[in-house]
């Protein structure tokens, strides 16, 4: 269960970003999680709920955008979804691909802020 470590890292990065916009309050953190990132979105949401307690982001929600894994076949130029479990071979040429286009994302894409009322 490294989702707790991941959630903690997300909170730290988001808190760093939020400090630059103080005193605005973070209401949500947006992340992208690729199908092949090795992270289970539900476990991440759950871990985030636990990890945010008692931090400056205690009220922030985690918005997870799940990214489908896709690859490109160099010989035929086709882009295809690799599926679950992944099959890194071109379904048209039946040859392995060396080019994964998407699916390994594990990144923060934004934070939503609410200005503190004066």
């Amino acid at each position: 269960m490294h989702e707790l470590s991941i959630a903690t890292a997300v909170l730290e990065r988001a808190a760093e970003e939020a400090r630059r916009h103080a005193p605005a309050r973070v209401t949500a953190v947006r992340v992208r999680v690729g199908e092949l990132a090795g992270v289970v979105p539900d476990a991440l949401r759950f871990s985030f709920d636990v990890a945010r307690r008692g931090t400056a982001l205690a009220a922030a929600r985690l918005l997870v955008e799940e990214i489908t894994a896709t690859a490109r076949c160099a010989p035929c130029g086709d882009d295809f979804a690799v599926g679950t479990p992944p099959f890194l071979w071109c379904p048209r040429c039946d040859r392995p691909t060396t080019r994964l286009l998407t699916g390994r994302e594990l990144e923060i894409t934004g934070i939503e802020l609410e200005e503190a009322s004066a």
Binding site: M1, H2, S5, I6, A9, V10, R13, A14, E17, H21, A24, T27, R30, V31, G34, L36, A37, G38, V39, A69, A71, A74, P85, P86, F87, L88, W89, D94, R95, P96, T97, T98, R99, L100, L101, T102, G103, R104, E105, L106, E107, I108, T109, G110, I111, E112, L113, E114, E115
Partner: protein
Amino acid sequence: MCRVIDVRQAVLAENDALAGALREELAARGTTVVNLLSSPGSGKTALLEPVLAAAVARGVPVAALTADLATENDARRLARSGAPVRQVLTGGLCHLEAAQLRGHLEDWPPDDTRVLFVENVGNLVCPAAYDLGEKLRVTLMSVTEGEDKPLKYPTAFGLAHLVVLTKTDIADAVGFDRVAFTQNVARVNPGVEILATSARTGEGLEVLVDRMLAVADGAAVHRPTMEGGRAAAARRAHVAPGPEPGRPHARGRHRRPGPESLTAPQP
């Protein structure tokens, strides 16, 4: 009032940056890190024992660092080889992170160490997400675990530079299907080499030692398709979109994994 701040940052950017720095620092010292990943009990320690002994016998200075949730049993077993060994107790953490490894590398291992073996925590999920600055990432699986594990743990097998099958001495007893295993590995990591080994009979051990020492001597390492995805995702997260970051590395021809060999085709 509400507003959205755009951030583009890899969640593990800190670990990845630290791992990158470690890789460079160790390269400068002449030490290559080999990261060993598998589920609990696949035989990482049992394999490492004769590997360390073989390296010592060949006069190659090696060291090992073994990570466990608890107990120093593995370090005790490995130390019998005569190689310097350290135990990391992760205190409940299910994987090793670059920062923990760095904590042990201040005045260790000895300067002349060619290969530092890192036995990760027994776990096929979490360790795969954390780069430790290794040059060679080895994923092991024993014949008792079932041929479908590469499909159930695609990142552990998909990111491997080398796959090692262990406990082949009992393969027949458990009805292990080598063809299915080879095909499943090739499905998530086309082109990766699979070495069949047994710590009991010694099968494959010399070849394994050869492979690992060759990497320390600068031999090219397999580039998993999935690793390209990791690098690309990290790049996208760090820098503004620029020109296409170079052509994908040229690969030789691949054969469809056939039943004739256990080793997946090498370019």
